[in-house]
Chain length 225, copies 2
């Protein structure tokens, strides 16, 4: 059962509560709703075999993983979630097939089910995940959503400020960054692209409780040749 409107409070958060220490609430990643949904689409007749093999090659240590009809849900700490995603997506890419992956990261758990954040709960400080280079090249259409509300999140909800900061961070990483309608396009090694997406998500999440990010990644596209 969800907690109704868990992100809503009348009291602005102080910088110290925004660092995750509000009222002695020290959530686990699962309690804070940290995790991902992703869909691996493999454009080949043997898609089922490639997808199952890729999931088997990914290290799920520390994670709860549940595959459904539309997507696979992954719950756990940011570093573990991103390692799993990078390993699963790069394994699918190494099959040589054209792969399109839809990746949805979320932290600060308002949403469908099971949220342990108390009313007025603060943002949660996490370290930026670090990923290994994969040797797999990708292009990603990326969007970041810091879901700050009036009266919470320091009282200064300004989602474009946080988005522009994340894009500036992406430009510092060495991957190719191109603005386009609705998205920022990232191109480079899959590990570095996912690390950049995760960095924007985690950094925005240090001052905003509920932050999600979506990316569609293309690997081995014939259009890119």
């Amino acid at each position: 059962m969800r907690t109704p409107e868990p992100a809503v409070t009348a009291a602005p958060l102080s910088p110290s509560t925004a660092a995750g220490s509000a009222g002695g609430f020290h959530p686990t990643p699962h309690e804070f709703g940290v995790g991902a949904r992703f869909t691996l689409a493999v454009m080949a007749d043997d898609f089922a075999e490639v997808i199952l093999d890729a999931l088997r090659q990914a290290d799920a240590s520390g994670l709860d993983v549940a595959t459904g009809v539309v997507s696979t849900y992954v719950s756990g700490a940011e570093q573990d979630v991103m390692r799993y995603l990078s390993q699963a997506l790069s394994a699918a890419g190494r099959s040589g097939a054209h792969v399109s992956a839809s990746v949805h990261l979320s932290r600060g758990c308002p949403g469908g089910v099971t949220c342990a954040i108390p009313a007025g709960g603060a943002a949660l400080h996490s370290e930026v995940p670090v990923l290994e280079s994969t040797g797999v090249h990708c292009v990603a259409d990326w969007a970041l959503y810091p879901l700050a509300d009036a009266g919470t999140d320091g009282g200064s909800a300004d989602h474009m400020r946080d988005i522009y900061a994340a894009i500036d961070h992406a430009r510092s990483t060495g991957i190719t960054v191109t603005p386009d309608h609705y998205v920022t396009r990232l191109e480079g090694d899959l590990g570095l692209v996912l690390e950049t997406i995760a960095a924007g998500w985690v950094l925005a999440g240090r001052s905003v409780q509920h932050v999600t990010t979506h990316a569609t990644l293309s690997i081995n596209s014939p259009s890119a040749a």
Copy 2:
């Protein structure tokens, strides 16, 4: 070139400005940034043929359409955008192949490039798109993001309130609605599922300028059998 931080203003909007009449600014859908990005992933060796054939079967009247490496960009009025998406996705589904489609709708154009909304621009009232039944069954993982800011959007930014209203609307449509982590799952005819997603997006957009929504749709999944 983008307009820096176009959604940010110090002045709360009155109900009349929230209806789109602020300062005599009567934007076209393109000026307001109304449109979509979508990726059709067809899990078969002849994916390129199926995708190109599906795009050819969709009516692009009134729309600007540009296909890139990762996704296809569609700009125009909500009704035209949704008709195009429904026709393209259902055509791909009628190939019989397993299709995964990533759909990203946006209105209120802060973002990468070209935004004509003046500083302090208001929300834009649009009618809810109406789609025909397609005969194609789908399951979708859906997330809605009303990106209200403090000091704009009537001064009452509360993204979960708008999300719950959209989920309540979805429950009234007759499709199957299931809450899950980070997403709401919608199942039914592809036309009705897309119409429900668009309704949540357009209705939230009547009071919030910048609203996006993401859905991953699964058609002909062997896991669903």
